[in-house]
Symmetry: C2
């Protein structure tokens, strides 16, 4: 199996949160496809974060794509110059006020490799402790919730943590925590 050959690229729209590119590509069969759309995003991070008591630090916020209020992992975008680990420590602190005692990589997942090249880097944070208040952007309204492992397992079983980028890392975290 071979990769496709990129012939040319043209930007349809460029904005901080929506950069849309149209690629002309040549397939291994020789077929030319003139309109393969790619969305360019920076890499993202999220974190399965546990307090010193073993509670999961989750957040609740409104998500306008789905038009729903959702329970999710602390998460965000890697800023220019940051490593994924630096970005996730910053996002955890900004969104929840917690700092991590330890922070280790869990997995790296593509949100959608058909249309984007970016990766979401997931971490496991243990022994988190409250060090500050939240530090939110003007458009952010985030509630922090501490949940037990049993509560998280029940929410997953009931499909109430319905984000692909968040439920995968939670399963990875359970595997890691079970040793």
């Amino acid at each position: 199996m071979e990769k496709w050959k990129l012939i040319s690229s043209k930007y349809i729209h460029k904005a901080p949160w929506a950069t849309l590119r149209k690629d002309t590509v040549e397939l291994p069969s020789g077929l030319i496809k003139e309109d393969y759309y790619v969305l360019e995003y920076p890499d993202w991070v999220n974190v399965v974060a546990l307090t010193q008591k073993g509670e999961f630090i989750m957040i609740r916020q409104y998500r306008h794509g789905a038009q729903e209020i959702m329970l999710e992992l602390p998460a965000g975008v890697i800023d220019p110059g940051e490593t994924p680990k630096e970005a996730v420590a910053r996002e955890l602190l900004e969104e929840t006020g917690y700092s991590a005692g330890s922070l280790e990589p869990l997995c790296q997942l593509y949100p959608n490799p058909a249309s984007s090249g970016n990766i979401s880097h997931s971490f496991l944070a243990k022994d988190c402790f409250k060090t500050s208040i939240q530090s939110l952007d003007s458009t952010e309204d985030i509630e922090v919730e501490l949940l037990s492992k049993q509560e998280i397992l029940e929410l997953i079983a009931r499909n109430k943590i319905p984000q692909a980028l968040h439920v995968g890392p939670l399963f990875y975290a359970f595997k890691t925590l079970e040793g």
Copy 2:
């Protein structure tokens, strides 16, 4: 916590694979945000499919967003008028040539509820049997691979099934299969 109020919407780009909308929204704080971008997609499906011998029916194909060849679940888009279950049976047959003995829902996951409202519907197909050859679009080049449960577990542990929309349903499937 309240949802945002939609003030107006404007389409930036409309194409079968890339419809980009710019919303003006009012936040509960009263703040007006004039450029919240939303990508509109149809709902998707994918399937954790097992043969009568208990092998996992996986596919390998090139993904141009990531520019990588990847191992993944059979998956696709729900066509107009189809139920998720009809779509997943069709995609399984087209991409692999297998029909399912039984087909039950596993989970529903948002690919990215921040920027899109669409859902990926995941199913568990058991007792699958080969009924035809593949039926692929001109741009599709898909290799079918049958893998054991142990091989899938090792690939997940090594982060070699790196798609958020596929690894979550695999974890759900293991939970279901373990009873």
